[in-house]
Every structure is written in C-alpha cells, then in structure tokens.
C-alpha cells in the first residue's frame, strides 16, 4: 500500500515535471528526460564526481565539527543551568539569523577555500545540534534521577547512566535535522563564494544557460542529502530500538 502510493507519487511528480517542461513555463525549462541524460553525462565526464568530493570535504568538516562541539555544548548547557540560560540566547539568535548573511564575514576572516564553506556549514547546523542536546537534558525524568540517587549513584554515574541515555533520542533528532541544514549551508556557501564544489557546478551551468546540467546537479545534491539522511535515520532506529 505504502509502496504503491510512493510509486504513484514519483510517477505523478515526473508527469507534472514533463508537462511543465512542455508548456513551457519558462525559457529552456528542462524535461525530466533531459535532466537525467545530463546527469549521466556529468557523472561520465567526472565533473560531478570531482565537485562532489570537494563539497563532501566541506560538509564533513563543518558538520563533523557541529556534532563534535554542539553535543557537548548542549549537554553542558543542560547540566549547568546558568550556562544554559546565557548560551541559549546566542543560539536563538544564530537560529533566527539569516545565516547566509554571514558569508561575506567568513570570506573576510577565512578567505575562500574548503574551510570557509565548512564554517558556513557549521554555522547552519551547529545551533540545532546544541539546542536539541540542551532540550534532551532538560527533558530527563526527575524520577529516574531520584531512583539512581536512591542507589547512591555518583555524579558521573548519574550523567552516564541517566542523563545521557535520556537525552539520546533528542540528540539524534537534532543531528539528523542539522544534517539537512548542513546540506543547505553547503550549497549556499558554494553558490555565494566558492570557485569549486557542487554549488559552483550549479552556478556555472546556469551562467552557460545549460539548465539541464543545472537541474541535474540539483537533483544529484538532493540524492546525496536524501541518502545521507536515510542512513542516519537507520542508525537512529537501531539505537532507539527500545522505543517499542
């Protein structure tokens, strides 16, 4: 049933796309078929692979740092309440901020390279990682803490045995959401500043009016992020098996 609906929705989407390409909505709007063949050509030429490898470096660096720094920060905020109250204001600001506006600032301080894209990726994703870890700690059931205290648990034991596992579902949800934000940050960074990566491929195709190639690259990016998110969701499901 679900499978049938999914198939139907994909077919419906492709038909709509085909129809939109034929109308045409705008000048040189590529059809699904043109997009797919451009995708195959791009993969064959190696251009897409090179761009992907470059982009993945920025992504891994920025998103990795977001997780490695964001989770401990959020945990610290949750455990040491005054830190939480102060830091959450900054996180709220970072979340509300149109992060793309940071790009010129980053170029000025880091220059234009793989690291500058990584910094943007980090700024897009880290606040969500930290915020969710913070929320996870605040959601710990006081009764479980009391139970562990009744067994005379030490402070480190309380943290490792009660706080951390209690916060894990929210931390994982934060990481997954942050990953989707990281992809957005990556493309924004590369569109705006970098002379390489997937964003650059999108920009150069657009400026050459090669809209099929541009669409193909966007589609490829979607496939990448979709695959990464699905993989993360699987890890999450395994770790949270106990939620029957």
């Amino acid at each position: 049933m679900v499978l049938a609906l999914r198939t139907a929705s994909v077919v419906g989407f492709l038909l709509l796309w085909e129809w939109a390409a034929r109308v045409p909505i705008s000048f040189n709007f590529p059809s699904p078929w043109a997009t797919l063949s451009a995708l195959v050509a791009l993969l064959g030429s190696g251009a897409l692979v090179t761009a992907t490898l470059t982009s993945i470096q920025s992504l891994a660096l920025g998103f990795g740092a977001a997780v490695v720094l964001g989770v401990p920060l959020g945990l610290l905020m949750g455990v040491v309440r005054p830190v939480g109250r102060v830091a959450r204001v900054y996180l709220d600001l970072l979340i509300a901020l149109p992060t793309a506006a940071l790009v010129p600032l980053v170029i000025l301080s880091v220059g234009i390279n793989v690291v500058s894209s990584a910094v943007i990726v980090f700024a897009f994703s880290a606040p969500f990682v930290a915020m969710n870890a913070y929320g996870g700690v605040r959601d710990v059931r006081p009764r479980l803490v009391e139970m562990a205290r009744a067994f005379d648990a030490s402070w480190p034991q309380l943290f490792v045995r009660i706080v951390l596992p209690s916060a894990t579902p929210m931390i994982l949800a934060g990481i997954r959401y942050a990953l989707s934000r990281a992809f957005v940050g990556l493309i924004v960074a590369e569109l705006l500043l970098s002379p390489f990566g997937l964003g650059r491929l999108i920009m150069s195709s657009r400026s050459m009016f090669e809209h099929d190639r541009m669409f193909a690259t966007v589609l490829w990016t979607l496939l990448l992020s979709g695959t990464a998110l699905a993989a993360l969701a699987r890890v999450e499901a395994r770790l949270l098996r106990w939620r029957a």
């Binding site: 009744a150 005379d152 106990w242 939620r243």
Partner: protein, 263 residues
Amino acid sequence: MVAREAGVPVPAAGAVSIAIDGVSKAFGSVQALADVDVRVRAGEFLSLIGPSGCGKTTLLKIVAGLVPADRGRVTVGDRTVTGPGPECSVVFQDFALLPWSTVQKNVEFGLLLRGVSPGERAERAQRTIAKVGLAGFERAYPAQLSGGMQQRVGLARALAVSPRVLLMDEPFASIDEQTRRVFQDDLLSLWSEERKTVVLVTHSMEEAIYLSDRVVVLSPRPGRVHQVLEVPLPRPREGGDVRATAEFARLVDGLWKILRKLQ
C-alpha cells in the same frame, strides 16, 4: 528457619530496625512533617497511611536519604541517615524503570552502580528476576510489559542489591485490582522467606491491614503520628481467605473510623 507463628516474626539475619526521632520537614512555608517519631522493628512489615498530603511519601524519602530532614534524626540499623545508603532499596509508584534498558539490565542497575562485576551482576539479576516471577522476560523492554510486570521489575531491582530495608512508595497504586492482589501475595511470600524490614506507604486501608504487622496513621498537614494500629492477623496470610474473615473486616473498619475523623 522461618517462624510462622502469629505475631512472632523472626527477622532475617541481617534485618535492621529503623528509628525516626522527632523528624520535621517544611517545603517553603508548608510544614509537611512535624515532630514525627516512629520505631520500625527489625524484620517488621510496617505501613504508613494518612490523608493525601500528610507527608507519608516525604517521610519515606527522608528514611531513604533522598530528602534531608529539617530537624530530628533517622537511624537505620546503627547508621544515622545523612544520604542514601546501601541498607535501603526504594520501590517507586511509577516504577522508575530505564526505558532504554532490558528487564535484565534494569534489575542489574543497582548492582552496576555499586560496582559489582558483570558476571555476578548477571547471575544475581537472573536469580531475582526468577524470584519475582519474570523468568523468560529478561530481554524484554519495559514498554513491552504490563504495569504489574513493570512493578515486578522495580521490585526485583530493589531486591537484587540484597537490601536490609525495603522502602515502598505506593507500589501498587498504578496496578489494577486483580493483578494487585496476586502481587501482594507474592510480596508476602517473598518477605516471609527473608523477613526484611519493610516500610510501605499506601492509601489503601485493605492493603495496609492485609500486609502489615503495624499500621502508622499520620494526621493531615503537618503530618504527625496520629495513632499506631497493631494488626494481629495470623501469618501466613497469602493465598488464604484472610480478607473474608470477620477479624479482617473489623480491622479495616477500625482503620476507616480513625481516618474518617482525620479527613
């Protein structure tokens, strides 16, 4: 080994008595407990009962070392309570199980915190799980169990550390009546094997009479000891028809008459 004569409970070798002397506790401007004195004999099954808000749970938590008393002192065996100690285990009304851990790991939890080796932990947990009638459910998660079974896990976790005192905070309150009666009998037969000192907080008069040697009635806020009631029903009571006897009805009615005046 185990004395079966009425009113002469022979405590287990390690059972200890509890002395609550002049304990007072206020939360902000609300006086929860005022000058409470209670003696619990070694190996005794004692219930605390009283109107809601009389501070019976607070008193239990003070004995457990979870809440500090403002005044007075509590002695468990020869230790003056200043915090949680190894003699006491607590059973909570809402079970307080770790949802991410299996039954086995939940029962091992206290042993884990106390640094017992993995092999011994597993072995002791398994034995206790079997004792509370949950053999075969070691690998289940709490969410897969009924309320009654979850509380059996809570009891097993408390017993696994071999406490001398079992502190139970309305353990049967969130369990349906049929399950509760079976569970109460199982608790009594477990207790008759090792005669640990038990303090049970309850709001059920039948439960207090059915299980206890003595029932301590607390008055409403601030909680004070209003009266102490002896329960001379013969043991073993489990599995029999104690509830159908005139003596049982008379005792429950006597308790009701005391509580009614306190409402």
